[in-house]
């Protein structure tokens, strides 16, 4: 199995797809600006759910992981117990631990820097960082995406909360489709081989199928089991044949 994490430190060292810093910055700004602007939708939704201006802004500043923020204000608006509401948001945030697991290999940050970098470990920064071919690119992508997104997300949250009354029904503006479109755009470049597609398909089935029967936030966590399940199934099908090792390696190389 080829390791995606064995990155060269400098660009242009024979890696197919090595790209200039400006291209990395452009990618990062594209994601940072687009998602950062969608903080407006959060500000509007949160204010519409009855949270105060300070509470709405505190969520974006301190929680800074969109799905959890939306989940929390939704649960609170529905009259949920604060701890149950927080638990749902927390379960959604657990995926960031897996992103951190992956990012810590790619970023190779000094220990002292990690507590500061941690707040930016989210879907978007991970997606941008993972698609960069070099360590330098990974670091630039993570930092530019994180900074752009943090500044804009908080600014637009404030504006959204202030403008909530002016805009009225946010769903009428289609803003509730921004979230899934963002997730889809992040997911698409990761679906390069059959293993990844199988994982995505199974995760969709689990996420939707379990939605009506499990508490909010839990189906997504169960859907994460699609990853080990598919790996296990593929391992079994290979049946320990020697050929399997070769095929796995070839597939790993396709990922970049």
């Amino acid at each position: 199995m080829t390791e995606q994490t064995a990155l060269p430190d400098a660009p242009g060292t024979g890696v197919a797809g090595a790209k200039p810093d400006a291209a990395v910055v452009r990618d990062a700004l594209g994601v940072g600006v687009a998602v950062g602007l969608s903080g407006f939708a959060f500000g509007v939704t949160s204010a519409g759910s009855g949270l105060g201006l300070a509470q709405t802004c505190a969520l974006s500043l301190l929680v800074f992981t969109g799905a959890s923020q939306f989940a929390l204000v939704g649960a609170l608006a529905a009259g949920g117990n604060p701890l149950t509401a927080a638990a749902g948001a927390f379960f959604l945030g657990v995926r960031n631990a897996f992103y951190g697991l992956r990012l810590s290999q790619l970023l190779a940050l000094p220990r002292a820097v990690r507590p500061f970098a941690a707040q930016w470990v989210i879907d978007e920064t991970t997606a941008v960082a993972l698609t960069q071919p070099t360590r330098r690119g990974v670091r630039i992508g993570f930092t530019v995406t994180g900074l752009t997104l943090y500044v804009l997300w908080n600014l637009t949250t404030l504006l959204g909360a202030l403008g909530a009354e002016a805009i009225g029904d946010t769903d009428a503006w289609g803003l509730d489709a921004a979230g899934p479109a963002v997730f889809l755009a992040l997911l698409a470049p990761m679906l390069k081989n059959t293993t990844e597609r199988a994982v995505a398909a199974l995760a969709v089935l689990l996420g939707l199928g379990l939605l009506p029967v499990l508490p909010a936030g839990v189906p997504v966590l169960v859907a994460a089991l699609a990853a080990p399940l598919v790996l296990w199934a593929r391992g079994r099908r290979a049946g320990g044949a020697e050929a399997a090792a070769g095929r796995g390696a070839a597939e790993g190389e396709n990922e970049r």
Binding site: E3, Q4, V35, N96, V121, F183, M190, A200, V220, A223
Partner: protein, 102 residues
């Protein structure tokens, strides 16, 4: 006050899991299987989140204007449109379908 408690618990919990991922010792990740798994987990989570935010209304599954919007985003992605355009397509199509009473 209860809202502030919920915000505080969520903020601390979400920061803790972010930091945990970065602090797990590198030695634990040397095995190929763990790395392979860490690479596939975001795929599973993003796929599930996309599907849920498109089709979920609370704990029910519905087919509404969002599906048209996300389908438009998928087409934009296939055409290799830039990120902003992909999201804009979803928002505009969703709003358009709703405006037509969809």
């Amino acid at each position: 006050m209860t809202v502030w408690i919920a915000i505080g618990v969520t903020a601390v919990g979400c920061y803790a899991v972010k930091l945990l991922g970065l602090l797990v010792p590198a030695g634990a990740l040397e095995r190929p299987l763990v790395r392979r798994l860490a690479a596939l987990l975001p795929v599973a989570l993003l796929a599930a989140l996309t599907a849920q935010q498109t089709f979920a209304d609370g704990r029910e599954l519905v087919l509404d204007a969002r599906a048209a919007g996300v389908a438009a985003a998928a087409v934009a992605l296939l055409l290799r449109a830039p990120f902003l355009l992909v999201v804009a397509a979803a928002v505009v199509v969703t709003a358009g379908v709703r405006a037509m009473g969809g």
